[in-house]
Point group: C2
Chain length 149, copies 2
DNA sequence: TCATTAAAAGATAAAAAGATCTTTTAATGA
DNA sequence: TCATTAAAAGATCTTTTTATCTTTTAATGA
């Protein structure tokens, strides 16, 4: 479905939303350990997320990654877009070049409604709202135990 | 979403459903050209589909690939299962190992209902029914112009 | 039975995704 | 200013997916 990079990105951005602030930056190493993900890979990923203005960073002592107000107004789809792009969602499920309601692939009318509402949901809520919801529900976002399949 | 192999598999199985029979076998080469896909790759794929009893084949002159009655009773999900496996669908959208309604990942309640209905749809109809529907709708399954993104 | 045809099988190559390592740059505090 | 810390950047390596090529096996018809 999503690339592993996108999954890491969503999880660690939510992690930052919950645990970081301007005054409390978090290093790659800490996050990588918390969510049990290879830290060099996460570091590379974070570079891209910073360039994409999904998260923020500062170097040096007490440096690390964090979310600004603006960052936390982004939504899950922005993260996916930044890493995987949206082609995966927009493209025909069976890979046909031309596929719309006038010229549908065999599964077009099955997949299309599904895809649209999923996209809508991922646009609906900001990272902040997501994060709030998670803590309000009393759920701990440990993120441990990522499945590698 | 799906691997390219799965996409090829679904498309060419539907192609066989429409154009082949026990008395009218079709060679890899013909299908590969019709759907504009590398024929050695399709050949490999067909081997696996034959082993998985999704399609049938005979060697030699007038040999080729075709669907038996039994083959055409399979559904789209059987094809996906044979090539990609079902993990992609069953696993947590964010890759968490433990993710269910008691211990949900951040997007669990968004993704779960959609996943289930999509799976249901792909189980609902046989290849035969799919193929019939396509020709009844007057749609031509040219399959040309596969997008490589 | 033997040449021909087409799939099966296996080995190999190229591209993409995932992961790691090393060097450079910037920020901080002593 | 200088040592230290942590991210940025770039190079490299591994695995998986996609694609290709060659050899073997089976079926058919002459």
């Amino acid at each position: 479905m999503l690339s592993r990079a996108s999954k890491y990105a969503i999880l660690s951005t939510l992690f930052l939303a919950e645990h970081s602030s301007k005054d409390k930056k978090i290093s790659v190493k800490v996050i990588a350990e918390s969510i049990d993900v290879p830290s060099p890979f996460l570091a590379k990923l974070f570079q891209q997320l910073v360039r994409g203005k999904i998260i923020s960073s500062t170097k040096g002592p007490n440096g690390g990654f964090f979310l600004t107000e603006k960052n936390s107004k982004k939504n899950v789809l922005d993260i996916i877009e930044n890493i995987d792009g949206l082609n995966k969602f927009n493209d025909c499920f069976l890979g046909l070049n031309e596929c719309d309601s006038k010229n549908p692939c065999p599964v077009h009318f099955i997949v299309e409604p599904f895809k649209n509402s999923l996209l809508g949901k991922f646009r609906d809520k900001t990272i902040q709202e997501f994060s709030q919801e998670i803590s309000e529900m009393g759920r701990v976002l440990t993120l441990k135990g990522l499945d590698l399949s």
